[in-house]
Each structure stands twice: as structure tokens, then as C-alpha cells.
């Protein structure tokens, strides 16, 4: 992230900061509390310059009368730096604790539906496609449903192109050469992986649009940006979109405890898997399959090998992956 200008142009006044915090709150339900001024300044200063405004405060004044700049500002404020396979443990839980019972339970449909919520620029979604390609038995399909409040982030997911600096962030070299090709100064994800990912604009704080029922939901590093009531509401609505024997993964500092008693927790290595209350513990008898929709045109037949990897870091955002 570029530093705010040291000539005073990047400094935000308390009034402007309050306006931005209120805007974010109204549009995305995200909390932007005092102390985050530096972040707002750093994100808005480049936009102020490209809009021809002399400083951040003038740019914030412009937001009140220019809807397109407002959309750009919200995008900029909800974007996170992210990396591939970061935190390793959630991905180990994915391959070692979640996939085996789901492969048993979904043997008759041979298909999995997975939601990467607040997907940011798609590193989490594509990390999951790699693991699926490496771990699903022949004949199986899977679809990653990648959603985000930022339309520019969703465009990036669809493009599947990443800078060299982004590729350095946690991408194992072997997977880089297996799943990416050079495209000028960038790296482009293989069509095979891209075809497994569908995108949808979604504001977690608002009622969900029609979506499949998911076997696994990754909702990592995003609840922390909402107040308790909104967290509770999001978890309640997620529980309506997850299969009775499905899995929810939150960020390492997030929990369903004391928020929504529809969930229970199971340990998987160093992470907690959150499950709809009443689900059989992972590794025991499989429950009936979910009504997850069968393979669509967006799904891809996958082959089996083995592997594990890592995922992501937040800043100020609904974009948690």
C-alpha cells in the first residue's frame, strides 16, 4: 500500500473520516473505527490524485456528489492484500478432515459446492481449485462460488491474472509451474482451474441472492469487520446456505461461539471447523447428501493426486480472503 502523502495532502480530517466511516457502514455494514485513519488516507489518496483533487478531504467532499467516485472509494477501501495458501492449517483441514467424509457422503452425486465468501482477488478460490484437482477422485466435479462486495475484485477473479509480486506470496513453485502460464508481466491461471470458479457480487450484510447449498464455506477474516449483531445475522443466513453435514471455516481470530447456537465446533489440527448443530462428527458415519446442484457447465472433471497447501490476510475490508 502506498504511504499517504507526507506533504499534508494525504491527511484526513476527523469530519471526512467520520463521513467515510458512515459511508462504509451504510453501504457495506463494515466497521471503520478511529485509529484506521492511516488506512483510509492510504487508500483514498491515489483516487484523489487521479480525480484531480488536491487532497483527501477534497476527494471525500466529492464522494457526496459523485456516485461513480463513491463506488471506486468503496472498492478501494474494501480491498485486501492477500496471498496463496496462507495459514496452511485451514487448507490441511480442507484436504484431510473435510474432503474425506464429504467424498463418502457425496459418492452418488460426485460433486462438491464450495463458497469462497469475501473472495478478494481470488487467491483463496484458486488455491482451493488446486487442492481439489489434486485430491478429488476421477469422475468428480467441484465448483467454487467466489463472492465479494467489490466488483473490481470479481473482475480480477474472472481474469485470473496475477502480478509477480502476488505470485511470490505463498504460491509453492511446483504449483506455480503446474497451474500458471506467463502472460506478459503477469501469470495467468489455467483455463482448467478458471472453469471451476464462478463469481457473484454479494454484500454479506444484505440478504443473500439465490445461491446453491454449499458443502464447505470459507468465510475467513471478514466477520471481524462487522459488529456483533451483523455477525450474528451473517452466520444465521450462512447456516441456511450450508448443507446439514457441511463445514464452515472462519479466520483464526473469529468464532461462532456466543453468536449463533446453530453451530458446533470440531478441531482439525490447529483450526476449528464450524458445523451445523446435529452434524455427525467428521470421520464418522456419513449423513445424507445435500441438495447441492450437480455439475454445471462451470464444473470440471478432476483427477486425483495428493497435496496440501496454504491462504490470506485482511486489512480493512469485507474482502477477507
Amino acid at each position: 500500500m502506498p504511504p499517504a502523502g507526507d506533504d499534508g495532502t494525504g491527511v484526513i480530517s476527523p469530519t471526512s473520516f467520520a463521513y467515510v466511516a458512515d459511508l462504509l457502514r451504510r453501504e457495506t455494514a463494515m466497521l471503520c473505527e478511529p485509529g484506521k485513519e492511516y488506512l483510509v488516507e492510504a487508500r483514498l489518496l491515489p483516487l484523489a490524485r487521479s480525480a484531480g483533487q488536491p487532497d483527501v478531504d477534497s476527494y471525500v467532499a466529492l464522494l457526496g456528489r459523485d456516485p461513480s467516485e463513491r463506488a471506486k472509494a468503496i472498492d478501494a477501501l474494501t480491498i485486501n492484500e492477500t496471498s496463496w495458501f496462507r495459514d496452511l492449517a485451514p487448507y490441511q483441514a480442507f484436504t484431510e478432515a473435510m474432503l474425506p467424509p464429504l467424498l463418502e457422503a457425496r459418492a452418488h452425486v460426485k460433486h462438491l459446492e464450495i463458497w469462497s465468501a469475501a473472495c478478494s482477488s481470488g487467491q483463496e478460490a484458486y488455491s482451493l481449485t488446486m487442492l481439489l484437482r489434486e485430491n478429488l477422485p476421477p469422475g468428480w466435479t467441484a465448483r467454487i462460488h467466489a463472492t465479494d462486495v467489490s466488483t473490481s475484485m470479481l473482475e480480477r477473479v474472472r481474469a485470473g491474472r496475477y502480478s509477480q509480486v502476488e505470485m511470490n506470496r505463498g504460491m509453492p513453485a511446483q504449483r506455480l509451474v503446474t497451474w500458471f502460464t506467463r502472460a506478459g508481466n503477469e501469470w495467468e491461471v489455467s483455463p482448467e482451474l478458471r472453469s471451476m470458479v464462478t463469481t457473484q457480487h454479494l454484500n454479506l450484510a444484505a440478504p443473500f441472492p439465490p445461491m446453491p447449498v454449499f458443502d464447505i464455506v470459507f468465510l475467513r477474516n471478514v466477520l471481524i469487520y462487522f459488529d456483533v449483531d451483523t455477525k450474528r445475522d451473517i452466520l444465521r443466513r450462512v447456516s441456511s446456505r450450508i448443507s446439514p453435514d457441511g463445514y464452515l471455516l472462519l479466520g483464526s481470530s473469529e468464532t461462532t461461539l456466543d453468536l449463533d447456537d446453530a453451530w458446533t465446533r470440531e478441531a482439525a489440527g490447529r483450526v476449528w471447523m464450524h458445523r451445523p448443530r446435529g452434524a455427525s462428527p467428521a470421520g464418522t458415519a456419513a449423513r445424507p447428501a445435500s441438495p447441492a446442484s450437480p455439475a454445471s457447465s462451470a464444473s470440471t472433471t478432476v483427477r486425483a493426486t495428493a497435496g496440501v497447501a496454504q491462504s490470506t490476510a485482511p486489512a480493512l475490508s469485507q474482502t477477507g480472503a
Binding site: 496471498s83 496452511l88 509477480q164 509480486v165 505470485m167 511446483q174 509451474v177 506467463r182
Partner: protein, 127 residues
């Protein structure tokens, strides 16, 4: 834990030294592959070598092939840190026995995450 940093740029060696020192590594530096190989022959057994590709006397690729050909150093982790960014170059380095690959320019986080991936640095334990 010990890291052998192999790069003909003193500045780059200094950057890498600061990153791995903060991770708790002791370091040795070499200005090319031959110097690094001499250090190994003299008895240095690092946990990891951070290796530039293009260097005088002996390049990083040759260093990797020489280290991999000698059983004394089978447990040494090899990570390329280089401006060479072509797909084929990465494949070549991995085939020669490099474990990981970081392309310059990089952020400190990129080095740290790769070290975590290689199991050389413990990850933060989630709450």
C-alpha cells in the same frame, strides 16, 4: 538454524540477511556459487541456501546441481531468489533439485511465507 545467502549483490545479501535474522537464523554469505560450495566443503551445513541465479564464477543453477549431486548435503533446503522469471527457468531449477523459488523483486513476507511453507519457520498458532 543457519542460512547461507548466495548473491553477488551486497545489497541483496544485506536485505536477505535482515529478513532471515529476524526469523532467528544465523547467516553466512557468499558472493557466488563457487564461494558457497567452498563453504560447504569446509564443513558448513546450513538448513537453507538462498540462491541467486546469475552470478560470476558459478551461477546458482550450477550450484544447485552440484549440491544435489552430493549426498553430504541431501538435507539442505535450496531456495532460488532470482530475477529469472520465465516458466521454463523455474521448471529447470525445480528439476535440478531446488525446493522453492522466489522471483525478485519480493516483499519480506514472500520470503517468510516460503520459509513457512518449507517448514523452516513455525507458523503463528491461531487462537
Amino acid at each position: 538454524m543457519h542460512a547461507l545467502i548466495i548473491d553477488d549483490s551486497k545489497t541483496m545479501r544485506s536485505i536477505l540477511r535482515r529478513i532471515v535474522t529476524e526469523l532467528g537464523f544465523d547467516t553466512t554469505e557468499a558472493g557466488n556459487g563457487q564461494e558457497a560450495l567452498d563453504a560447504l566443503e569446509a564443513g558448513l551445513v546450513p538448513d537453507i541456501c538462498l540462491i541467486d541465479w546469475n552470478m560470476p564464477l558459478m551461477d546458482g543453477y550450477t550450484f544447485v546441481t552440484r549440491v544435489r549431486a552430493d549426498d553430504r548435503w541431501r538435507n539442505v533446503t535450496l531456495m532460488m531468489v532470482t530475477t529469472e522469471s520465465e516458466h521454463g527457468q523455474i521448471v529447470r531449477a525445480l528439476a535440478a533439485g531446488a525446493h522453492e523459488y522466489v522471483i525478485k523483486p519480493f516483499t519480506p513476507d514472500a520470503i517468510i511465507e516460503k520459509m513457512e511453507l518449507l517448514g523452516l519457520v513455525a507458523q503463528e498458532v491461531p487462537a
